[in-house]
Structure formats: structure tokens, C-alpha cells
Amino acid sequence: MIWNDDFETLPREALESLQLKRLQNTLQRVAATVPFYRDSFSQANIDIGTIRSLADLQRLPFTLKQDMRDNYPYGLFAVPLEQIVRIHASSGTTGKPTVVGYTRRDIDIWAELMARSFMAAGVHRGDVIHNAYGYGLFTGGLGAHYGAEKLGAAVIPMSGGNTKKQIMIMQDFGSTVLTCTPSYSLYLAEAAAEDGINIREFPLRVGIMGAEPWSESMRREIEEKLNIKAIDIYGLSEILGPGVAIECLDAQHGLHIWEDHFIPEIIDPDSGAVLPLGETGELVITTITKEGIPLIRYRTRDITRIIAEPCICGRTHRRLARMSGRSDDMLIIRGVNVFPSQIESVLMTIEGVEPHYQLIVDREDNLDTLEVQVEVNEQTFSDEIKVLQDLSRRIQKEIKDLLGITCRVRLVEPKSIARSEGKAKRVNDLRKR
């Protein structure tokens, strides 16, 4: 089922000419109203009147997260505050948060894109959506909420935390759709099992999961443990919030990015050059309908590639491959690029190992060290030391085979790795002390 047939299945040619028209409008608007863009275009010696094709976009300078911080809080807004009806902000774990403002029309478009996303995931009117994304400054909760209402489904505004109550409400209210981070869904399953509740018997059908990178094998684990289809959703507050891109239930392969509102590009994160179609690199997004805070060539730091082949679902909007990580999350260990999601995929191939792990990175005698902590559970535990040592060695070997680095594997007691109700914290980099 498709929410907005006219736009979601627009032939590529029409879609691209719409993109160009909207891009040109956006550029005129930001050049006239945002001093940051006026200066950055003039410093780069660019006359926006000469942007006549989508390919011309790559002549424009990037917008970085740091630019948002430098213009904290409202410096990048393109409309006066009287037209802003909502303000969100990112968590701001490093320095000041990044602030985004939405006009009434921005909120409407966001709800429309979330409604499209829900429907692409097979959600419809009559569904009960258990929304466990946090409500607040974080865009996850309210973004999913407005989309669910727009769609006409019943939304339960749970927000995060209070896991026992979440399970009770999910069971008693007969929730059919769960929206939360992938790691939290497994935590819910684990907490239910501890109380002797079989979450697989709940009427839950679909999980819409995002806000942190996750692997294909973790998807299988979630689908098995909760007896649902797990759908990957992508978004970031700077661009919109959740609903920038989503997998369709039909293919469950790649996330359709709503190209009538966003233009994606893939660049080499080091040189900044646009890569040939289909190559993997950093995702850069330009918003072409946003009023509150339009962003030109925003560097998302997320690593992916564009899938240009048509999709079986009938949508013409291109797909982004599952994010393999955020270049911010990328660890450089002894010169090797390591994404936590790569380690996760290794762990998930080993029978009985659960995706509760933590990476400890440190430096000893000027050499980087990586310790992978993995929880032992009833399936992997044995009374024989050699069986446990074999498990450690196997994990170590498979990580070495994949990444070429030798790590130390440390088996730890169950539940000793902190569970997260929002984004999972996988890495503890002690080199930054």
C-alpha cells in the first residue's frame, strides 16, 4: 500500500525536474534570509543563479554539524521566530545541542513523510502503534506520533523507560506495531521473558526501528524473538527527524529516501568529492521543501550507498543501503577503520551469542587495544573451561578474519553490560581520556 501515489511513484524524470525546481527555490530563499549561506556562497564565489541542473549541486559548499553549533541556537533559521511552531534539539553529548525549528508546513510535511513511512512498512488505519521512542527534545517520539495520527492509526505515546509497564501496556492494549530502537526491542523481549511472558504471542506484527546502526543479523534476532517483521527507518533531527527514509515491507532491502523532499548525494568523506552512483561513502542531504531550517549539502556522517535499481514495491524513490555506521562512530584501531556494527555482525553469526556487547578501546605502550566484552548466557555457558575458551578464541579469530586486528575477548556475566532504553552505547574509548 502506498500513502501518496502521486508523489511516491512519480516517474524519475518528473521527480528530478521537481527536485531541481524545489532546489532552486530553496537556494534563493536561504541566500536571501540566512546570513551563513549568503556568506558561504559568496566566499565560494558562487552565483546561485547558475545552478541549472541537479549536477550543479556539487559545486555548493557543505553544511557541517559544527556550522549548526556555531550558529546556536537560531542562526540558521530561514524564517522569523513568529513562523516557528516547534523547536527540537539533538542530544548534544559533545558540546551544545544542534537546534532545529519547524514551521507549521514543516510539521505537516514531516507527518506526511512519517505516514508514508508507516504505510511502506505495512502499517495502516486500525493498527495500534506502541511508540517507545523518547518524547521530548529528541525528534523520535513526536515525529512517529504525528505520522501515526496522520495515517489514522491509534498511537500509544509511551516514550522510553519503565520497561515493565511497557510490556503490560503492549500486552493489555493489543499493540500491533512497535516503534523503538532495535536494541530496546531486544531488551523488551528479554525483560518479558524474565517475567515469564511470551512476547512472541503478542499481536505485534511490525517493528519500526532506527536511531542507531544495526545489522542484518540483529534484524533476524529481533524478528525471531518478537515474532515480527523488523523494518529499518532512518532519520536525523538536523534534516527532519524520523521519516527521511524507510524500508518497504515488500523488499525489506534498502531504505527509500523521500526524494521529493530531499536530495541525497554520496561523497568520499576525506576528499569531499561526489562518488559514482552505487559506491559507498558518506551520505549528504539537501532539504528542498523545509522552511524553518533548510540545509544545503548537510554532511550526515552516515555511511551508505545509493541503490538505483527500481524496487518491486513500485516506488520510484531511490533506496539507501542499510547504514553501515556513522563516520563519527568509526573507530580507528591500529590504523584500521572499525565500525561497531561489523563486530556485531561477527558476534551474531555465532550460535547462542546475543547482541549484548561492548567495545573497550585503549592504548597500552602506544599501541591501540580492543577488548570485546560479550555476555555469557545459558546457551553459551559450559561447566568446562575449554568450551568457554574455545568460544573466546572463535570470536577472536572471526574478528581477526574480518578486520585483520587481534582483539581481546572477555566473557562477562549476563546483564553486566548496561541496557539502553534509547540508543545503545557500544563503545568505550578510553584513549580520549
Binding site: V376, E378, D383, I385, R410, L411, V412, S416
Partner: protein, 143 residues
């Protein structure tokens, strides 16, 4: 004739062993025999207790990873060559011992050796055929 042993995973950090014994003690479980195998990171604590089910429940509730294993308890006179005789006969029969531990009975006349075999049934048959006293669970747990 197999008896049950409880095995518990413990990290090599201070206080974990104390926590296991506290949980068992508060549940009213008495430990008959124990052995601790350790590596630099973790250890496996193996216990013979008087109340197996109660012990497993209490430990699982306490957040420990617990598994039960079938082991074999053999009673031998507490004197020189007591253990050596058994090991020699197992060796002759080609039976591999994964690990073992022992304790002396309260009256002091006999020792009890707990064996973990790959194939417990075959080992029991060999021991019995050679006239050794293989202890049933009821006797061991209440010793």
C-alpha cells in the same frame, strides 16, 4: 547413578564468589562440595548442593548464568592409593576424565571423588563392574 552438579559462571572481579555463597545461604542451600576452575578473566564454580532446584532458581534470580551437569561420585577408602587405583582402571578402560575434585567424609574413613566424564554411563558401568561404590544422589546430597 549420576549425580547433579551446578556450575556457575563468575567474572574474576572481587565479591562475585561472596555473592554466590550469599545467595545460596539466604535460600537455605547447603554446599556439600565445590571446585573452582579459573582463568585470568573468569571462573567456573562447580557445586554439589543439598537442594539442586532451589539453588538453581535462587542463582538464576540473582542474575547468574547457571547450568547443571551430570557427574559421578565414587566413594573410596581414605588411604594411600585410593584415587590411584581408580584412575589406573579408568585409564585401562580408555575412559577420559574431564576434571575431578574430592572431599573427605565427615567420619573420616572414606573419601568421595566427583568425576566429570565425557560419557558418564559408560564410566559408571566400568566402575561398578570393578566393584567400586558409586554413590546415588540421595546419599551424596545428604552427606
Amino acid at each position: 547413578m549420576k549425580v547433579q552438579q551446578i556450575s556457575i559462571f563468575i567474572e574474576n572481579t572481587s565479591g562475585r564468589l561472596a555473592e554466590v555463597t550469599r545467595v545460596l545461604g539466604e535460600a537455605g542451600v547447603n554446599i556439600r562440595a565445590l571446585s573452582l576452575a579459573d582463568t585470568s578473566d573468569f571462573g567456573v564454580l562447580r557445586l554439589i548442593v543439598d537442594k539442586n532446584d532451589l539453588a538453581r532458581e535462587a542463582l538464576a534470580r540473582g542474575g547468574f548464568t547457571v547450568t547443571k551437569t551430570d557427574v559421578v561420585a565414587v566413594e573410596v577408602p581414605d588411604q594411600p592409593l585410593g584415587l590411584a587405583r581408580i584412575l589406573a582402571l579408568l585409564d585401562r578402560a580408555g575412559i577420559n576424565v574431564e576434571y575431578l575434585y574430592a572431599f573427605v567424609e565427615r567420619c573420616g574413613a572414606n573419601a568421595v571423588i566427583i568425576f566429570r566424564f565425557d560419557n558418564a554411563d559408560e564410566a559408571i558401568a566400568t566402575l561398578l563392574a570393578n566393584g567400586l561404590d558409586v554413590l546415588p544422589g540421595e546419599r551424596l546430597y545428604q552427606m
